[in-house]
């Protein structure tokens, strides 16, 4: 296992550098930030001074070398927009996103397992069809539509929830998490259902049933474990996309997360902050991928055996 982990971590370093390099170069394609941060009257001298101060006049190779040199010294540069340290800004925003992603996936996974198994227990029954229909609908609702409608119905109309923000304790989580969870819930429900239908028709489950095992017991003890593998893959992929920034939800609900920070730094041509956020999310995603693989290795005895080789 250790062997596998070390190898996995080592092979992740190069891709990480590639991501960072890609962001570095692409960001600089979006144009010179000088026009955003200098007054329109800026003289050529002032422009040159700005460019020099930020190192934009060096060759791209020099800039890359400087940046990576800085990264090794844990110096991620300074925000053009706010004047703060880029690392501070990224680290400040990250927990909010992680918590949102965690809560979302928890709800999506739990909901999907319950609804998916229930539907799979009687494939093609009315209940199954309704569950499938609803989950497919959920998977295709535009998120910002859901979010804004939710705000007006639950916050303004019913007065049950705060419209947005993070200050009202758990109740301020409801709408953002619901908005984020609806698509993963829909997708995962279908995955769990599909997996469960097959698992329930597998010989050993039928055997258990023939021995008189009841419905709930069959589902929870036998079938669900086999449905875990595909659900894990999909859940992992969904989590990755949440970590990479729930831009729309964070924008609408004023959630101070990494997605909002990323879009602000892109539109603000705030390269240092963009690079810091991407580095942070990319590392998280790589770690997440490794964790998922480890889970797989643990889940799948066969794979685990070979992993020792």
């Amino acid at each position: 296992m250790f062997h596998f982990l070390r190898r996995r971590v080592l092979t992740s370093i190069l891709p990480l550098v590639a991501v960072l390099l890609g962001v570095f170069v692409l960001a600089r394609l979006t144009g010179d930030p000088a026009s955003l941060y200098l007054p329109e009257s800026a003289t050529p001298d002032q422009r040159a001074a700005f460019t020099e101060r930020n190192g934009f006049d060096d060759s791209i190779w020099q800039q890359i070398a400087d940046y990576f040199g800085g990264v090794f010294r844990l110096d991620f540069g300074e925000s053009l927009r706010t004047g703060e340290s880029a690392a501070t800004m990224a680290l400040r925003a990250f927990p909010a996103t992680l918590q949102l992603a965690g809560a979302t996936m928890l709800i999506a996974v739990a909901g999907a397992v319950v609804i998916g198994s229930w539907a799979a227990f009687r494939p093609n029954s009315l209940a199954d069809r309704i569950a499938s229909f609803l989950s497919m609908t959920a998977a295709s609702v535009p998120d910002f539509w859901f979010a804004i409608t939710g705000v007006w119905i639950f916050a303004v109309g019913l007065g049950a929830l705060p419209t947005s923000g993070v200050s009202d304790g758990m109740s301020s989580w409801v709408l953002p998490v619901a908005t984020l969870a609806i698509r993963p819930l829909g997708v995962l429900t279908q995955v769990v259902r599909g997996a469960m239908v097959s698992a329930l028709s597998a010989p050993y489950v039928r055997l258990a049933r023939s021995k008189g095992a009841g419905g709930v017991r069959v589902v929870s003890h036998h079938a669900l474990r086999n449905a875990a593998a595909p659900a894990l893959t999909v859940a992992g992929d969904l989590t990755v996309s949440l970590v990479n920034g729930a831009v729309v939800v964070e924008t609408i609900f004023g959630w101070p997360g990494i997605g909002k920070l990323m879009i602000d730094s892109i539109t603000g041509r705030d390269f240092a902050v963009l690079q810091a956020t991407v580095l942070l999310t990319a590392v998280t995603i790589f770690v997440l991928n490794i964790v998922i693989d480890v889970c797989y290795a643990l889940l799948d005895a066969r794979v685990r055996e070979t992993a020792r080789v």
Binding site: H3, F4, R7, R8, T11, S12, L14, P15, L16, V19, G22, A27, L29, T30, G31, R122, P123, N124, R129, S132, M136, T137, A139, S140, P142, D143, F144, W145, W152, V187, Q190, V191, A195, S198, R206, R209, S210, A229, P230, T233, N244, V247, V248, M262, I263, I266, T267, T277, A282, I285, F286, N289, D293, Y296, A297, D300, V303, T306, A307, V309
Partner: protein, 337 residues
């Protein structure tokens, strides 16, 4: 590192990569009965309905714009935000008008074409590239596999938003560029699925046999791996179609999607969001169009998957009443539980 530990490294099964479960052999996906398929489809009411709806939508996308003509971009500033079922200006007002006095119905119809011409090529492109690299990586394993998987990781952890902004601001936000952006960001999904499946397949007996006979790798991939991987990928593609429509909508939310006067469902939803209080129909109908398309496509894909899988097809061939009784499996105990 051995090849075997590679399997552990990236040994994540594709989502539901189980096409050849039960040992169904690769070569022939139910060639016996084209007619049989039709009959099976007609027997499943829900699938039939889904097929009908989907055909209607596709026909609308193809021929609809001819019918409504230029009505989708004809502005009537004296006739804005009319609610649905306003027939003052003819039947085009049936779904109301937008803030520029354009017919929502006409726009929906024209948008269908744009939506498909973004989503379909984006999905197809991602599918083709992802599947090819994935199968190639999974078949050859070793360094090539690791390489492909890390590339997938790179794309996944790369902020797709930055890519969108760069491509759409630096180059213009044309339909072609939009397709490229959406395709690139979705490649990993197919790549990982295809790789997982072909990894499993390449160790199978029939592939081994082909290899011993000296068949070239590309031929093996084409003849033996591809047909088995395809159904999974196609099912995946139908769901991705929905995702791409929504992603395009989110890009519009950020102002970098389809540019007016072109119109897509995603753009319509996004444009209508500031009128949620005053004109619900602006977002409702395009949103509904996205949902209906997705649901029909998914239903049909699920059905097609059953229908083309020899191990599962029995579920569809049973007469409806009999099916009712033997729902989960042909196991007699079933009825009691």
């Amino acid at each position: 590192m051995s090849t075997l530990s590679d399997k552990a490294a990236d040994g994540r099964p594709a989502t539901g990569s189980d096409a050849p479960a039960g040992g169904a052999e690769p070569s022939a996906p139910a060639r016996d009965s084209r007619v049989g398929l039709w009959r099976m489809l007609l027997r499943d009411r829900v699938a039939t309905a889904a097929a009908a709806v989907l055909s209607l939508i596709v026909l609308t996308a193809v021929f609809g714009p001819l019918l409504v003509g230029s009505a989708a971009t004809e502005q009537h500033l004296d006739n804005t935000n009319q609610p649905p079922f306003t027939f003052d200006d003819g039947w085009l007002g049936v779904l109301g008008t937008d803030p520029l006095g354009q017919s929502v119905l006409a726009r929906l119809v024209v948008a269908a074409r744009t939506t498909f011409s973004v989503a379909a090529p984006a999905v197809a492109l991602a599918l083709a590239i992802g599947a090819l690299i994935g199968m190639w990586a999974g078949y050859h394993r070793g360094l090539r596999e690791t390489l492909a998987m890390r590339v997938a990781d790179i794309i996944m952890s790369f902020p797709s938003l930055l890519m969108a902004v760069v491509v759409l601001y630096v180059f213009s936000p044309s339909v072609a560029n939009l397709v490229v952006v959406l395709a690139i960001t979705r490649i990993p999904v197919y790549l990982r699925t295809a790789r997982a499946e072909s990894t499993e397949l390449q160790s199978r007996l029939f592939v081994d046999a082909a290899r011993t006979f000296g068949t070239s790798s590309s031929a093996i991939i084409r003849r033996h791996v591809f047909p088995i991987v395809l159904p999974t990928l196609l099912t995946l593609a139908t769901l991705e179609f929905c995702y791409v429509m929504l992603a395009e909508s989110s890009l519009s939310f950020l102002g970098i999607g389809i540019q007016p006067p072109d119109v897509s469902w995603g753009l319509m939803v996004s444009q209508g969001r500031s009128y949620l209080q005053t004109a619900w129909w602006l977002t409702f109908f395009p949103g509904l169009a996205i949902i209906v398309t997705t649901v029909s496509a998914t239903v049909l894909a699920a059905w097609a998957r059953l229908a083309t899988d020899p191990a599962q097809r029995w579920r569809l061939t049973l007469p409806r009443r009999a099916r009712h009784r033997t729902r989960t499996a042909p196991a007699p105990q079933e009825a009691q539980s």
